[in-house]
Symmetry: none
Subunit: 206 residues, 4 copies
Amino acid sequence: MARAPKPPPLRPRKAPRQPRSEHTVAALLEAAAQVLEQDGMEGFNTNAVAQRAGVGIGSLYQYFPGKESLILALMRREDERFDAEALMALSQPTAADALKSFVAACVRQQLLRPNLARLLDVEQARPEFRKEASSSMTLQAILLATVERTDLPTQARPDVAARDLLAIIRGMTDAAGARGEVDIADLQRRIEPAVFGYLRMAPDQA
Amino acid sequence: MARAPKPPPLRPRKAPRQPRSEHTVAALLEAAAQVLEQDGMEGFNTNAVAQRAGVGIGSLYQYFPGKESLILALMRREDERFDAEALMALSQPTAADALKSFVAACVRQQLLRPNLARLLDVEQARPEFRKEASSSMTLQAILLATVERTDLPTQARPDVAARDLLAIIRGMTDAAGARGEVDIADLQRRIEPAVFGYLRMAPDQA
Amino acid sequence: MARAPKPPPLRPRKAPRQPRSEHTVAALLEAAAQVLEQDGMEGFNTNAVAQRAGVGIGSLYQYFPGKESLILALMRREDERFDAEALMALSQPTAADALKSFVAACVRQQLLRPNLARLLDVEQARPEFRKEASSSMTLQAILLATVERTDLPTQARPDVAARDLLAIIRGMTDAAGARGEVDIADLQRRIEPAVFGYLRMAPDQA
Amino acid sequence: MARAPKPPPLRPRKAPRQPRSEHTVAALLEAAAQVLEQDGMEGFNTNAVAQRAGVGIGSLYQYFPGKESLILALMRREDERFDAEALMALSQPTAADALKSFVAACVRQQLLRPNLARLLDVEQARPEFRKEASSSMTLQAILLATVERTDLPTQARPDVAARDLLAIIRGMTDAAGARGEVDIADLQRRIEPAVFGYLRMAPDQA
DNA sequence: TATGAATGAGTGTTCATTCAT
DNA sequence: TATGAATGAACACTCATTCAT
């Protein structure tokens, strides 16, 4: 691991302008997702990603200044994909339904590529990435809005509650993914009581 | 001749017989824990561990056939440490109190060395380590016994419930640890409703 | 992560496509030959070879998956070089002259780089390499054809005879090389009677 | 390979005086022979030898100042064993019979532990060992005496002839051993014509 | 702009040798 | 004297990154 004296920045090197470039970037990100899903963090290296993407290793460095930057971009891609779904989920009429939909969305997403989701969760905890807090900030925000809805028991610290709910859901989905579970509905039904319990909602209310 | 090839076995190479050896092994495990806690997985390498332990790199390989084996041994050490505490915690008269004590033990353990606990959790998900199921099996077993206690609502699948509870607790403590939280009591109070909610216990019952 | 384990395959990692690559591969093989000749097997290591070739160690591993593979490639290079010479030698009008030319070729080749030839002979006996039988198979084949020529005494088992002749010649040239002999003609004259004696040819016939 | 600044001497560290020591030395040499025969040069290391001998590694270094010295002692042991046999073989009434017996002895010895014999031959060519010429000197001497016997064709350079004969025999037995041949009589019959041919003896004379 | 050959610091692991017990 | 725990130089091999083409 020839770590350069000065770690390369995390920001993408240049925004792809030509359509060809956009395609290359997309291919790289998808390849990164696949390698991570299939081979784990220890099989994840820039040469492997470039090869799977069908581009030269040089091209990878045209768009990403380093490995970390590639991971960060992948995080963002996954977050963005999920944010849209989460936003729809939370727009249900009742808060309880909104949360259920949200849980369902999380479960669906997680079981689709269980390793990818889990490994990115882990990466997000690394100090270099914590700064780049943007990722999952949107998610936090929209979940926070839901927690504050009036048809839920009032939470003393809504931001803490939002984070805790996410931690509960991720903890359970990551564990399920790691165990190879595939029954989405079952997992969802197991998460809900924990979520509503946390919010102090009686089961019959939810 | 580092013939990169056949993965070294995970089992410790030889049991320390002389007291000097025991000290070396203990020093290596403690050093491994410290390196992992402070520098994360990417700073965790055998040379660093040996150096921090104050022993030669050769000594590490006298007792551990490879890096992975060292991680596994560390997992076991942490599990064993925790199992004793957990066993005491769960011996409370009421199941509710038992669970509260258990949560408290988890939280305490986790916030002591938040990164270590989290990173070992992650490693446990790796296929090589899943086989070595012994780790955390004891934990599962004693938690299962508690879930089956008659002063708790009956769980349809107690083993699933035991795993889920652990996932909830670990999800929340890992997230808290990653955020740098230090208030043990606060975190504990936030976990309990999720746990009892999962078990369908009304807050007043717990 | 140099997982010391699975022995790397023996087949070259990738064929050099650009002329630059071809030069690198050639330089590596020649460097390997020189290191082996001068420092013997115990001085033969990948770093030394790369350094003598004037390329980075990484480049060696671009083309050879491991040390063994480099040795195998060197064997093949030497065999190919020799096969051409041997083929010409054996195309003499009489079988006796053919064999004399063959002996001469062997002696010339051997005394050119005595250690290299001897050490490669030794390596060829290693089980990993015995499978890769291609090496020296061509040699066996053309020698066999000569042994079967009608102007030589009929051999009961021509394939055995071909191998034995090679063993005699190699035994004598290796020993001479190890002793530092340099007189090609003298050595040749000492080998011939053994060869023709083996074939039951009277000295005056040969 | 922690080559000490100054290579340790080749001479045994101390002559074993007590019977216990003699036994230890003998066990070490036999263990060395077995390891070499079974695992080849690349499996031959001091720890393995000590373990197979059933003694601590420290004891090995009590009697042999280093690995090389152990190999040298093993060479000598094998040579001495063989010298006795060779001496008897060569005491036949006619020189031709003496040589036949000698070839037979070589073949027998070689096929007993083919790898050991071959690997020691190889080691003998290493410069550090060439100096310690004692090994196989006796052999050379007694073979020389036979070559000079009057019932053999006169050899211009008897010492060269003695060496050449040994090279022929070793070349053929080593090759046979490497191929896994086990038929002693057959091999012997193939070597004889080469030997007598070298000496310019007609087959019927021999 | 895209490529991939080249690079070398870094890391895992071995094994000859020493020395305290 | 015998032991085996400890040592660290040496070596195989990887992979992030650069740059000439």
